[in-house]
Symmetry: C2
Subunit: 217 residues, 2 copies
DNA sequence: CTCATAATTTAGATAAGTCTAAATTTTTTA
DNA sequence: TAAAAAATTTAGACTTATCTAAATTATGAG
């Protein structure tokens, strides 16, 4: 159907589109760790296939069919991550690279059966929503801890940064998906935050961590 | 580590080596549905990497490191096939193409955990032995039904042909792995065979089917 | 043992995806 | 708003894996 490289470009464009509207050549190059000139070549190819809207120097957006492909890859990525954590007992910081390979397994029937096997999970191990077999999912409406005020509380439901060092740090602090937290104090000097984690313990996190840890109210 | 194409060549050479000693360029070309000239190019590359023993016009064999890689790919293929049948409820005739993709997922830890998750199966859905994480497995010593005589009996334990039409035919006749059969009659005219399948029914199979259905005595 | 045929390899081309370096367009800034 | 800087594209080259057609080597039939 589509090559591995094409799939990775579509996925990257999809993710970058979440932040901004039109995605630039340089953004794609950075996200795929490739050169801008390589990106331009691929953009022409994807535009020829009507998977993106592209005019020279103007950045790109996905067409409906491009978006459909991207969402399907993301569905596969997240279902495989869920499988790796829930069935094979990997930690949430270990699964990304494996899922990067597995998301390209083509069979739709396979992924639908995997979905059923795991009883149709709604979120992957990092809290991201898993699209259903029609590509539909509810975008989660989460706030970073840094947007909360003292005495606000909520449930840890996602992370903005997915690097393993960040995930390992969170795990060590028991700041994992599902935990209830309340804001005890916000240090005005550096915007760091003191949290009460359920009734377990108090944790002091930096502004950077607070920016990357997402809460459902 | 190795490219997808290299892995497929090594696997093909491994399988072909089972029948004959040295494998010819044309055999590989036929098995990979490619051209002999393409095979020659790849053989040079694999020889440079010390994965095969190759001298011009003389055919090839795997070196120990080439064999290790091949067996690992076969291990992955068979474990994924087992997973697809046992966990996702696919039929034995549906899983080959999916496993062809999945066998290239690189993580050794993933495959070892999958192995454990399924409780270390010894055979894939077609009766082929699954190598352990050190590449060891007992080569199964099976005979085709065509090698048996009247009143011989045994357990269906493998198939020589893996095409889905053959597997579907066997399934319809209830000639599946694990079933006990006994030879009732051999028709001398065409070497077709009449079988008693457990206490269920009698089946009449052609010489060709008898050649491709393997029995443990 | 020799010659025709079959098998294999070499030569040269192609397509996908990438790169560097140079050219072009857009954006910023003074 | 014109020049400098940044972003993007083009041009040309490289790698991997493939192909066709031609050349070479091996094999086997008489």
């Amino acid at each position: 159907m589509n090559t591995l490289a094409e799939e990775n470009y579509l996925k990257s464009i999809y993710h970058l589109s979440m932040d901004a509207g039109n995605v630039s050549t340089n953004q794609i190059a950075a996200s795929l760790k490739t050169k801008a000139s390589s990106v331009t070549d691929m953009l022409k190819k994807l535009a020829d296939k009507a998977l993106i809207n592209y005019t020279r120097y103007q950045g790109v957006s996905l067409t409906p069919s491009g978006e459909k492909i991207a969402i399907n890859i993301i569905r596969k990525h997240r279902l495989w991550e869920y499988f790796l954590v829930e069935k094979l007992n990997f930690k949430w910081d270990q699964v990304h690279d494996m899922a990067e390979e597995m998301e390209h397994i083509s069979s739709a029937e396979l992924i639908d059966r995997l979905d059923k096997f795991m009883d149709y999970p709604q979120h992957d191990p990092h809290g991201e929503p898993i699209p259903d077999c029609n590509g539909r999912f509810k975008a989660h409406e989460l706030k970073p801890i840094s947007a909360l005020s003292v005495n606000d509380s909520g449930i840890i439901s996602g992370v903005r940064d997915h690097t393993s060092s960040f995930l390992q740090y969170l795990e060590k602090q028991q700041l994992v998906i599902g935990k209830k937290i309340a804001i005890t104090e916000i240090i005005s000097f550096d915007h760091s935050v003191v949290l009460q984690v359920e009734n377990i313990k108090e944790v002091h996190i930096s502004r950077e961590v607070a920016n990357n840890l997402l809460i459902a109210l």
